[in-house]
Assembly symmetry: C2
Homo-oligomer: 207 residues x 2
DNA sequence: ACCTGAACACCGTTCAAGT
DNA sequence: ACCTGAACACCGTTCAAGT
């Protein structure tokens, strides 16, 4: 290991690069296979070196969630309505989930009152306010819409992961039929349908 | 340990009693604290004894989910409409989630194409069919409604668990305000509102 | 100053041995 | 036949020591 001018043995190592390596591990091996030891090995450093940048495994997971959440598109194109803005966010979340199906469970399980998701919620609130949505309604709108999106994408990413592994053999007929219809249902069309129902309902009721 | 007539040293031990002990551990210590070793200690048996009844930790978690899912109320009172049936199921799921806030994450993360949840999906389909809902629409209705309910209750059970621990001190003002308004929003009223929006929207669109 | 191996207290699970 | 301790291959994390 060569030393950089400041004496760091690993100049490429920092909180961000560690989070990216961790996300790569999750994308490849699944979220339950994430371990500090594996991430350290991936980066070619000793396990304990990571503790100089990240205080705990929990913090590392939060960093991964932060990395995923910045991928979301909250840009405001001119003339964007509140309805279309909400749908744009929903589609952007789905695109992120499908880019990282094995990591999405971490987003769904992340605490909504702490930095990575709470910061995102703030960005989202500013987005809605900029679109002219009444701020009082924000938390209501966000919770109902976000609940649907998280729940749906949790199901859809599960289905995506299943598709790339084994089929259902051992199950009886009636049950299998139901299971086999799920992949088709957990689709872009169903998601758009859900978005339309909820965005339409919220508008009629709150705005 | 005394022996029963059949020679079993632990007559009270079976897959169901193990699942109940495991659920008790999760309700008390949280889902991430679940371990076979702890459940065995709770039951006063050696860790390896559990393997004669449950094949793996994964199966034990599935058994816990099955235990939770049978708590749901799918009884059909006479004259029940499809709309009210859907709401009854939604309220029953919420009641279950609030009875087991620390265990609900296991339900949300459970595979929807395997026995515990798939069996429940079948019961649910029969319930909707009995209420006169068109069977073709079932998977669509179920996925949109279930997505909202799972997502919402994941947020609400998180908030419930937070309430029984520390408050938010270290966060800056604007962010805290947002976080502080969440508990009030993740309430029965918001859940009912979401149910009404979605059930109404689905009826208008599919039925 | 910066990094890290050894060690500790946990896991799930296999296997061979206890009664 | 029924049960289980010891052991293995993993964890996250502490602490004391390496350069």
């Amino acid at each position: 290991m060569s030393k950089d001018p400041r004496g760091n043995r690993h100049a490429h190592l920092n909180r961000d690069s560690i989070a990216r390596a961790a996300l790569a591990v999750v994308d490849r091996d699944g979220s339950e296979a994430l371990s500090l030891r594996k991430v350290a090995a991936e980066l070619g450093v000793g396990t304990m070196t990571l503790y100089h940048y990240v205080p705990s495994r929990e913090a590392l997971v939060a960093d991964i969630v932060a990395l995923l959440v910045v991928e979301m598109d909250l840009t405001i194109s001119s003339g964007l309505s509140w309805r279309d803005g909400a749908k744009q966010v929903g589609r952007s979340l789905r695109a992120m989930a499908l880019r990282h199906p094995r990591a999405f469970a971490l987003v769904a399980a992340a605490a909504s009152d702490k930095p990575p998701l709470l910061d995102f919620a703030r960005r989202l609130r500013d987005f809605y306010v900029a679109l002219g949505a009444p701020i009082e309604a924000f938390v209501e709108v966000w919770s109902v819409l976000d609940a649907f999106e998280t729940g749906f994408l949790l199901l859809e990413t599960q289905a995506v992961m299943r598709r790339s592994t084994a089929p259902h053999d051992e199950l009886d007929q009636g049950t299998s039929e139901l299971a086999d219809r799920m992949p088709a249902t957990l689709s872009e069309a169903a998601y758009e349908e859900g978005l339309e129902i909820i965005v339409g309902g919220l508008e009629r009721r709150l705005l």
